[in-house]
Symmetry: C2
Subunit: 316 residues, 2 copies
């Protein structure tokens, strides 16, 4: 039995691009789009819509900016029922850069926000909704932000925003089943007119397990990436999620081919997955930035020193 409301969003290029400054070739992105389209995935998030005044196109690849023209090039001629999504961060997008939906290949805009920035996120999603886009708010770093400010923010979203889906984003990969269950239930309770989404990170090898937990408690929008690619430990693997879901529209085979042909060689060049410093960051409920710095240093396998540096950091 399957729940027809469940939607799978592939964010391979968007989250995977955090490893390589979004410098994927158009040909590579086209292959991913083709595979997720044939696999029956509902949405593909193709990158960020960032202001070129804040980030230089000389330093970052095309998918940091997602110009409509670049998107059109990679999707052209491919038969697909997969909608296109882009992500924007609060404070990093020039709203005037975004054309009305009718003139753009983009279907959905997802606004990533910390709890403290929810007012700004609501302003932005309403702006994009008025331009005709499907919209979501993705609440980041939620393993740290579970207090009354979160509940107040959710009530405000329910009352004031036109967002269709509100995502739980486990940025630090520090949730497990009980905390995932608690958050999905809290979101469902307050957000009576919205769908709830889940975006896991895999620091503790729990991204897929927590996504299943979110499904059990009626989250319907689920993020995943091919072979789990994504910042640090990466995300919920799309192939596991599609293998688990019962909707006959999903076909695992195009994703298996994509992994064989593209992601096995890619993993030799850039690093993500189960790596001990990311696990330590997850255990400590910390942002993985120190762990990522360690992996780029000559102490990359010096786990004890890294662990001790975290447990001896003075918080006062």
């Amino acid at each position: 039995m399957y729940r027809s409301e469940i939607k799978v969003l592939d964010c391979t290029i968007r989250d995977g691009g955090l490893i390589n400054k979004h410098d994927f070739s158009h040909e590579f992105v086209r292959k991913v789009y083709k595979a997720v389209s044939h696999a029956g995935v509902d949405y593909m998030e193709i990158g960020y819509k960032n202001s070129k005044e804040l980030f230089s196109p000389k330093e970052y690849g095309a998918w940091k900016f997602c110009d409509d023209e670049d998107i059109r090039q990679v999707i052209k001629g491919i038969e697909s029922g997969t909608k296109i999504s882009v992500m924007v961060d609060v404070g990093r997008v020039n709203l005037d850069d975004v054309k009305p939906e009718a003139e753009s290949p983009v279907d959905m805009i997802r606004v990533a926000s910390y709890v403290k920035d929810i007012d700004k996120a609501i302003y932005m999603v309403n702006h994009f909704a008025d331009k005709g886009y499907e919209t979501t708010i993705n609440i980041m770093a939620i393993s740290r932000d579970q207090g009354p400010a979160l509940e107040e923010g959710l009530e405000q979203i329910e009352k004031e925003s036109k967002a269709k889906v509100i995502y739980i984003v486990d940025s630090f990969g520090a949730l497990y089943q009980e905390t995932s269950e608690y958050l999905v239930k809290l979101f469902k309770k307050i957000l009576k007119t919205k769908e709830v989404g889940f975006h896991g990170h895999n620091h503790l090898q729990l991204a897929f397990g927590n996504t299943i937990e979110a499904i059990i408690h009626n989250a319907n929008y689920l993020d995943a990436t091919v072979y789990g690619i994504g910042r640090a430990a990466g995300n919920c693997p799309l192939e596991l999620l599609i293998g688990f879901l019962k909707n006959p529209k999903f076909d695992l085979r195009p994703i298996l081919d994509l992994i064989s042909n593209e992601f096995i060689p890619l993993r030799e060049k850039i690093e993500w997955g189960y790596i001990i410093p990311y696990a330590i960051a997850g255990i400590m409920n910390e942002h993985p930035r120190e762990a990522m710095a360690l992996r780029n240093s000559d102490k990359k396998e010096n786990y004890r020193e890294f662990y001790e540096s975290l447990i001896t950091t003075d918080l006062d």
Copy 2:
């Protein structure tokens, strides 16, 4: 808050040895014993006790047989509160090879059994219990064997066996949270005088998540291995389990050092972990033996053909 009844069993050498015919050097096993001892792990399973009439010592390493003398060599002089366990398979051990507990360095003997062999397993554990050992029955392939024969077997174990702990063994790595919860509750309901244990496999990246699920529903004996080493996709990583449990007796640091110094280099030589053919086997609820054969062939990355070979196997 922690539950003092929880016991962690490291089966690094026993399950990891399934990859390399148990051919770990005494020095390596000694390092593992030292680290798990310092980490506060309750039990270390050091290998199998197999009959040398069935398996040749020329073909397999020492930990396929676990002679008392080999065990004594690797634990000698190391201060430790960690008890020693060995595993036996139904039909593969000569009972007369096992000395009374008082004359042996072994504390616990775990009998691995399919549901159909539970009568034999009960006979064996009672024999070992009478010789003074702690004993367990580990019920393998449980994702396939969840029918009335399992319930009948559990009732028989409760009535007739001297085993202290009965383990749920997810040999195919095909359980997820709801099936793990169902099984732990079933075991707890029938086995009123026994403890329940959980041994996960990581084909779907759910070994740690399912182990947490088992903890939530009051399983107290938990298997794990260093860096998740084990047959095919491997097991629940010990470092994640120790990082999760709240008992202050556990210390993550000796395990981190062991991974840095021994397991990162070892992983370059032998293969385990998240590898697509093992995930496919988990999705299909199949024994990983065909996937393991694939990984030793020149088609190791040909996932689609492997997947299609499984979905087109005629069952009639």
